[in-house]
């Protein structure tokens, strides 16, 4: 019965049905994309309006571009200082994570034996521990070590929390780097340190890119650890400064808040649009291996 019906359907009928269903799929995705971008669009749009303009019609294009909100936000969040603090934290963490994890991941991967396996498992096991389970005593320890309350200190803490995942990724990648190179270099009288810095580390560039992207995004977007560690407004990162705009006087000044939200997300959005390919690959890789 069904075969008869299938045969009686004309070829153009099938093509038409296919076009229709493809169109429905497109509409569905378009609706999803609109919903996804809606909050960002509304944020940008209303950050450029005067308070009165916003209250008057929240959806409309600004009747006059009001950049005053941005200078207001710049001042209230001390934007340049907050940006500088965020960069210091992320740079400290990133340099440490990449340097220490590549060294450790490389040697752990190359050295057979029980010690090596034990150390590797020791690093990897903690990937299961939620941050909230360590934050209370971490707070205590960092106070004692006087790393609390400084941006560099916060970067150092990120090294401790970030090496596990990075070592795991380096460890896996090193397996694909041929051993002949190590052996040839050793025969040529190349020392361990030079072998690593001049031959091995450059070969790790693809996984270093992944590690750098994943960790940069993590540190840039992390809120809770800076909230616990940075007690002085002079040290605040972008997120902490933005958070301070809320409810200070009971009423939210949305013009300044939206401007500062836009300013805060701008660096990552630009980074994303420029490095999209690496970021998406890095995410897929990090997730599958992690």
């Amino acid at each position: 019965m069904s075969t008869v019906r299938l045969n009686s359907t004309s070829k153009s009928g099938i093509a038409e049905r296919r076009r229709l269903s493809s169109f429905i799929v497109f509409l569905f995705l378009l609706a999803g994309a609109v919903i996804t971008l809606f909050p960002i669009y509304m944020g940008v749009l209303n950050s450029l309006k005067t308070e009165g303009d916003m209250m008057n019609n929240i959806l409309a294009i600004p009747s006059k571009l009001e950049f005053g909100n941005y200078s207001d936000a710049f001042e209230k969040t001390n934007f340049l200082r907050s940006l500088g603090n965020t960069v210091v934290v992320a740079a400290t963490g990133l340099v440490g994570i990449i340097l220490f994890s590549s060294m450790a991941g490389y040697k752990l991967s190359r050295t057979p034996g029980r010690l090596s396996t034990f150390l590797f498992n020791l690093f990897v096991l903690s990937m299961l521990i939620p941050f909230h389970s360590i934050m209370i005593s971490l707070n205590r320890i960092s106070m004692k070590l006087a790393v609390q309350g400084t941006t560099v200190g916060l970067g150092l803490i990120y090294i401790g929390l970030g090496v596990s995942m990075a070592i795991f990724l380096y460890h896996g990648f090193v397996k694909s780097v041929p051993r002949d190179l190590d052996e040839a270099a050793v025969i040529d009288g190349c020392g361990e340190v030079r072998l690593f810095t001049t031959i091995i580390f450059p070969l790790l560039l693809p996984i270093t890119t992944t590690v750098a992207i994943l960790n940069l995004l993590w540190m840039w977007n992390d809120f809770l650890l800076p909230l616990l560690m940075l007690t002085d407004a002079d040290q605040y990162t972008l997120l902490l400064s933005t958070n301070m705009l809320f409810g200070q006087y009971g009423n939210n000044d949305w013009s300044a808040i939206l401007s500062s939200l836009v300013l805060t997300m701008l660096p990552v959005v630009i980074l994303y649009l420029l490095l999209q390919k690496y970021i998406l690959n890095g995410i897929a890789e990090g997730a599958v291996k992690g």
Partner: protein, 295 residues
Amino acid sequence: MSGSSKSKQSLILLAFVFPALLFYAVFMLAPAFGGAWYSFTDWNGLNPAYHLVGFANYIEALTDDAFFIDSVWFTLKFVVFMVVLQNVLAVLLAVLIESRRRSKAWFRTIFFMPNMMSMIIGGFMWLFIFTKALPYIAEHAGLAFLDQSWIGDPKYSFLAIVIVSLWGGVGYLMVIYIAALQGVPDSLKEAAAIDGANSWQTFRSITLPMVYPAVTIGIFVTLNSSFKAFDAVFALTGGGPGRATQVLALNIFEEAFKMSGRYGYASAKAMILFLVVLVITLIQLSIMKRREVEA
């Protein structure tokens, strides 16, 4: 290999691992063990003197602390919603996007974008949508159902948190599922099409079994992220109204740093969170790995 060269090798290994191990031991291992130890004490964070109290903190949290018990149930409800909705939506998006030719890259870029932002920023943007934009749209476009007390009414604030968390998290899973779909050989799908399978049948019998390992990862990722959810809730509702949307992580945070300063007690709650996540993810992985082998 001679014994001395072996011990030399071990020394070199330790030298390469030492810097990472040092930071890891101080900022990760020590707090992890410290947290476990303090959970059995009455330490208040300030007073250097404290006493061992056995399981008293655990018993109090699980039997006597209504706020904590509520936050456990609330978190579990949130986790169930997120695991189901986020994975279904991500698979759907991945399959539909992969079926597009020219618009594929655009959609992928857009759906992943919220993932690049901190959920603190995303949460604040949505707070503007929920408290300002939706009431306006409801009034002027006649869409009365949008005019809810999204942040003030517990029923709707749960929904608001789910919406924002989906918005922020679905792109990540979508990328994982797209990577998995691209691993399905076209020849298999073509063979199915020649055998007369329609697209739903191809999806069920070819695509889904092939991406099953990605589903294991997807559920693992969602379980982990939603048990630890903090940022979106902090930005949107702050746990309110009252404590109606207080997730576990927020409850622990407030116990330790906002209210009593009972570090020992808060540590016990943190240990409970750790054990719950550990047990549930291990169960999930063992069940799904077994099914993967069968599939």
